[in-house]
């Protein structure tokens, strides 16, 4: 299904206000000086500008810390959040990241129950970016910052109005009972900023693994792991057990391939003992392994890791450098 309506911007408050009555609504707000997705109680909590949030909204589907079960006498009880959530203002890069994460968690032999439940309970309301932000390189990653169909509804800024594309039944739910003028003619999808091509590493796994000077590339990296926490596609995790009021419980927590303990065996052996191996894993996982296993390169060009890195590491120039080191043209 696909309908397209035109909505005066002045009506957005009424629309979102209606959602707040029926759903949990997450939208960009300012917290401690940073733009982040948080649950809003009133439309006016929302900050609507053309900025990208500091963190992606991935935690609404894959929380940073999530209680996944508690242990009874003879039965483990699962804890699944069952709450319909609208995430409003998700940019095309983050919508694409959810496609990547959905593949990882729900494709293949096993399905991640918790992610799938959250996914089914989420309505994605996307919104295009007007300007490219410092550090962004989504166009080099083949994304259109102005537009995405990977959501339930999508808002395009048309000056005094929003053109809203409704892609799914879930999206239509958000407009039920409301009358908006159907867009007369399909609005032209805004062209993306020009890019010379798509930044990809087209290389043999073993060549990339062994022929690149990973020690040199990762020299500046401090191993703090911030890149993995704010990355919209990073999805690695660890389980942590605890005892709460006499009852054992298990939590799932984000983990990071940048940390030495990530792969540490109980025996003391560590297959990725140094920063060089860990940084290589991060790049190769994003640019090769996920693509091999699920068909997507797991980097959206959102630029968050570039903007957040305390050592000034830049994944775009690292990848471009690797392509050069392999003797290829970047584009």
């Amino acid at each position: 299904m696909m309908t397209r309506v035109v909505m005066p911007k002045s009506k957005l408050g009424e629309l979102v206000g209606g959602w707040i009555e029926n759903y949990r609504v997450a939208a960009p707000v300012i917290n401690s000086g940073k733009l982040v997705f948080e649950e809003i109680k009133e439309f006016s909590d929302m900050v609507l500008d053309d900025e990208l949030t500091y963190k992606s909204p991935k935690e609404y589907l894959f929380p940073q810390v999530e209680k996944i079960m508690s242990f009874g006498e003879n039965e483990a009880r699962i804890q699944v959040q069952d709450r319909k959530t609208v995430i409003f203002g998700v940019r095309p890069c983050d919508l694409h990241a959810f496609e990547v994460m959905t593949a990882v968690f729900t494709k293949g032999k096993f399905i991640d129950t918790y992610f799938e439940k959250n996914l089914n309970n989420t309505i994605f309301a996307g919104m295009g970016c007007l300007a490219e932000k410092s550090g962004c390189f989504c166009s080099d990653r083949g994304l259109n910052r102005n537009y995405s169909s990977a959501c339930d509804i999508f808002f395009s800024d048309s000056g005094e109005t929003y053109t809203v594309e409704i892609h799914t039944e879930k999206g239509a739910e958000l407009f039920s009972g409301l009358e908006f003028q159907e867009a007369a003619s399909p609005a032209a999808i805004p062209e993306n900023a020009a890019s010379g091509g798509i930044l990809e590493i087209d290389a043999d796994e073993n060549d990339l693994f062994s022929k690149i000077d990973w020690a040199k590339i990762s020299e500046k990296c401090m191993g703090c792991g911030i890149c993995t926490f704010i990355c919209p596609t990073c999805h690695c995790f660890e389980f942590r057990d605890t005892v709460e009021g006499g009852e054992p419980a298990r939590y799932r927590c984000w983990d990071s391939c940048m940390y030495p303990r990530f792969t540490l065996h109980a025996s003391g052996h560590n297959p990725r003992a140094s920063k060089k191996e860990r940084y290589r894993q991060r790049i190769m996982h994003k640019y090769l392994y996920v693509k091999h296993n699920f068909g997507y390169t797991a980097c959206t060009g959102c630029g968050r890791c570039i903007r957040s890195c305390p050592a000034g590491m830049n994944i775009k120039s690292v990848v471009a450098g690797i392509i050069g080191e392999l003797g290829r043209e970047v584009f």
């Binding site: 996944i68 079960m69 242990f71 003879n74 039965e75 483990a76 699962i78 990882v104 968690f105 293949g108 032999k109 096993f110 399905i111 991640d112 129950t113 918790y114 799938e116 796994e205 073993n206 693994f209 062994s210 999805h235 690695c236 995790f237 660890e238 389980f239 942590r240 057990d241 605890t242 005892v243 054992p248 419980a249 298990r250 983990d255 391939c257 990530f262 792969t263 540490l264 065996h265 109980a266 025996s267 052996h269 297959p271 990725r272 191996e277 894993q281 190769m284 996982h285 090769l288 392994y289 091999h292 296993n293």
Partner: protein, 277 residues
Amino acid sequence: MNNPYLPLKAEIMEVIQETTSDLDIKTYKVKLLDGGSMDFMPGQFIELSIPGVGEAPFGFASSPLNKEYIELSIKRVGLVTEALHSLKAGSGIWLRGPFGNTFPLKEMENSKILIIAGGLGLAPLRPLLLYMMDHRNRDSYGEIQMLLAARSTGDFIYRREFDEWSRVKNTNIIKTIDRPEEDWDGKVGFPHILVGEMEIDVHNTYAVLCGPPIMIKFVSARLVELGIPKGKILTTLEMRMTCGVGKCGKCNIGHQYVCIDGPVFNMSQLAEMPAEY
């Protein structure tokens, strides 16, 4: 679709002390509390939980044909195993699985089998051995030769079963330790040396190795020299595996995940994978 992270409660029926050395290895006979059987095939593993402490992966060590209980042989080495080793018969533990691929049982039929195991490395090969030595399957496989190595006599696991195993039709065992000991009736020396003294039909043998990484490295190189094709030299790998279902991102070697694409790999596959394990 079932929640792949949800474990079932099981009860420890018996604890068997395997080693008498400083390496503390115990075998746990375990059955599910609901009476159900845990169907698995040789090579697969489970995730074992001690609630409040954590969860860790372990290879099955018992026969897949045994539907009454499973056995797990576990060294006391980390958080979960430390807690497990304090448990006695009657205690509860939690299990989920089976996970991972299996030894290529069909493909191995009609071939001779060479098992080379070092220390606790015998544990994940025991389901394969017991499966092939079972009277229902024994004639499907050729001669079974075992080269079983341990640092010392006190480090062997399943030593009480060796006599019974060697009485199985067309089966023989060579056992070896690193240094001479009094009253020792086996060999002294490392497997990669001793394997050169064995009569191996290199054109019709599957070799299955498990043990310390250094042993696997030297033995597999020796077997390749002797002429066994890399695709017929099998091993099973260990990794930190939080989820067991290909999601948590810890156990990959290149694009392959040990928990779903492994843990069983042949040397031809390993030669094509980045050396990061």
